[in-house]
């Protein structure tokens, strides 16, 4: 299983403007982490360093103890699957089947195995009826499912999602929460970039807060809930759900009961 270590990483697109500043963070095997912060805080830039799309200008990113500077993006992508915001914008194939098969083909899967993984993920994501359809003809929710399926097809051990809830209806949001729980049960690590505090509460057990390129806090979800003032530092407003959780903890609810799965059942969120 794969672990990611971000060690004192800085990054800048232009010499005089750092987008990431000395960020140190680790994504342990099997963990579920949400990275939160306001727009422009460096969240997306940070995840682009996980598979070598961006190489740190200072510090290093280790994926299974190997620096991202010492291997290729395609090698790293086998382990770290990133699903970017609005992933359906990168569809290009004529059929759903070809779209799902694109990644496994690039990763060097043999033909018979490609057929097997395409069939497997299409069943898991409810797309088996559309395998011959044009991806552009799918509905919004189906397109989003296809985009996730087309990354999970090669079975990456770390799944990274950038703003997965943007533009999604409630039904899909609930199924996404279920899907993320499933990944965790399989032993995969999950990293979610979001500024949706409620979604983070229901899907993550660890949280990292970023502001202006710096990591201002990281730790367990329950620790964050006990310190709601941290939301303000990350320019975020506590939601009704997060405030309720804070009050439950203050009134003596055991923090063991506040793990995402229990929280979801406690509050009927999933």
């Amino acid at each position: 299983m794969t672990k990611i270590e971000i060690l004192d990483v800085s990054f800048s697109y232009e010499p005089e403007r750092e987008v990431l500043r000395q960020v140190t963070l680790d994504v342990p095997v099997g963990s579920s982490m949400s990275i939160m912060g306001p727009n422009g805080s460096g969240k997306t830039t940070l995840i682009k360093t996980f598979n070598g799309l961006l190489l740190p200008t200072k510090g290093k990113v280790l994926v299974d103890d190997i620096a991202t500077t010492r291997t290729s993006i395609s090698q790293l992508a086998k382990k770290v699957g990133i699903i970017f915001q609005n992933p359906e914008k990168s569809f290009f194939s004529e059929t759903v089947r070809q779209e799902i098969a694109f990644g496994p083909k690039n990763m060097g899967f043999p033909e018979d195995e490609i057929d097997a993984v395409v069939n497997d993920v299409s069943v898991r994501f409810g797309l088996s009826a559309y395998l011959s359809s044009n991806p552009f003809d799918l509905s919004g929710g189906e397109k989003r499912r296809l985009s996730i399926a087309s990354v999970l097809a090669w079975r990456p051990e770390v799944v990274v999602m950038d703003e997965p809830t943007v533009g999604l209806d409630h039904q899909y949001r609930v199924s996404l929460i279920e899907m993320l729980k499933g990944f965790k049960a399989e032993g995969k690590s999950v990293v979610i970039v979001t500024h949706d505090i409620d979604f983070a509460l229901l899907t993550s057990d660890r949280t990292a807060l970023m502001d202006d390129g710096s990591l201002i806090w990281s730790g367990s979800l329950t620790d964050l809930l006990k310190r709601p003032e941290l939301f303000a530092r990350a320019n975020m407003v506590p939601t009704y759900l997060s405030s309720l959780c804070t009050e439950l903890l203050r009134s003596g609810l055991s923090q063991d009961r506040l793990v995402p799965v229990d929280l979801a059942s406690l509050l009927g969120g999933a």
Binding site: A77, F84, K89
Partner: protein, 255 residues
């Protein structure tokens, strides 16, 4: 692979004498610098054109942006230099040939650094170009950096799915760009429809003639700038037609 260099040509809103010039004046100046640049190989003319543009870039506080745009063109410069050295065998003449490319590219750079797409559109309309054509041109200019960013995000997404565009011969490399270009074009076409709808929804084309919030005005500074341009062009043309050009082969033997 990156189209980030296209961002280097973005307008920056500053209050400098060059920014305040009428866009038509700047357009004439940029075209004149380009024409003077492409029609000469004389080192002195190239140096003068470069020096004048450096002054314009300094006054418009765009020197750093200009250097950044040049960094993006570095590969082309090196290729021009190498091709010229191989063709002529004269490194000094080849260096001036590459410098001529910088002169021509710089004329475009400072023009776009200092002229907002809206001002340019208004100026084109005042030059007699139809409002629709001027708007199309303005929108195209405005969307170049946006499309560059779109290309980058699609490219990143496909590389995250294992796409490797660095393998194989030229044909295979070009073909491997299809997973990037197809969604890019689909996105661009979709965006053009959205923009057309948004324009119509906001009343574009409802009336035949349009009022303008602000019209570019030709002032004293424009007159002086054009006068300086005429003097410079006349001086360069006099030098070109009357005075014998510098013979770089003499200098080349000293190297």
């Amino acid at each position: 692979m990156s189209l980030a260099f296209l961002r280097a040509y973005r307008f920056s809103k500053l209050d400098t004498p060059v920014h305040r010039l009428d866009p038509r004046t700047k357009l004439v100046m940029a075209v004149a610098f380009t024409l003077l640049g492409v029609t000469t190989l004389d080192p002195l003319e190239i140096l003068v054109l470069l020096l004048v543009q450096l002054i314009i870039l300094t006054i418009s506080r765009s020197l750093l942006m200009w250097l950044r745009s040049l960094r993006a063109l570095l590969l082309f410069l090196v290729l021009i230099l190498l091709a010229q050295v191989i063709a002529t065998g004269n490194p000094l003449q080849s260096a001036f040939f590459a410098l001529r490319f910088v002169v021509v590219a710089s004329a475009t750079s400072w023009f776009f650094f200092t002229t907002s797409p809206e001002d340019l559109g208004r100026a084109l309309e005042q030059l007699g170009i139809s409002a629709d054509v001027a708007l199309s041109f303005t929108l195209s200019m405005r969307f170049i950096p946006v499309i560059a960013e779109e290309f980058q995000s699609i490219f990143d997404a496909q590389r995250s799915r294992g796409l490797d565009v660095g393998k194989g011969n030229l044909w295979e490399r070009t073909r491997s760009l299809l997973p990037v270009l197809v969604p890019l074009f689909v996105g661009v076409i979709r965006r053009t429809y959205e923009i057309a709808d948004a324009l119509e929804l906001r009343g574009y084309g409802a009336l035949k003639s349009r009022t303008r919030w602000k019209d570019p005005k030709f002032g004293r500074a424009d007159f002086l700038a054009l006068l300086a341009l005429v003097a410079l062009s006349a001086g360069l043309l006099y030098y070109r037609l009357v005075i014998p050009p510098l013979d770089l082969s003499k200098f080349a033997t000293l190297l």
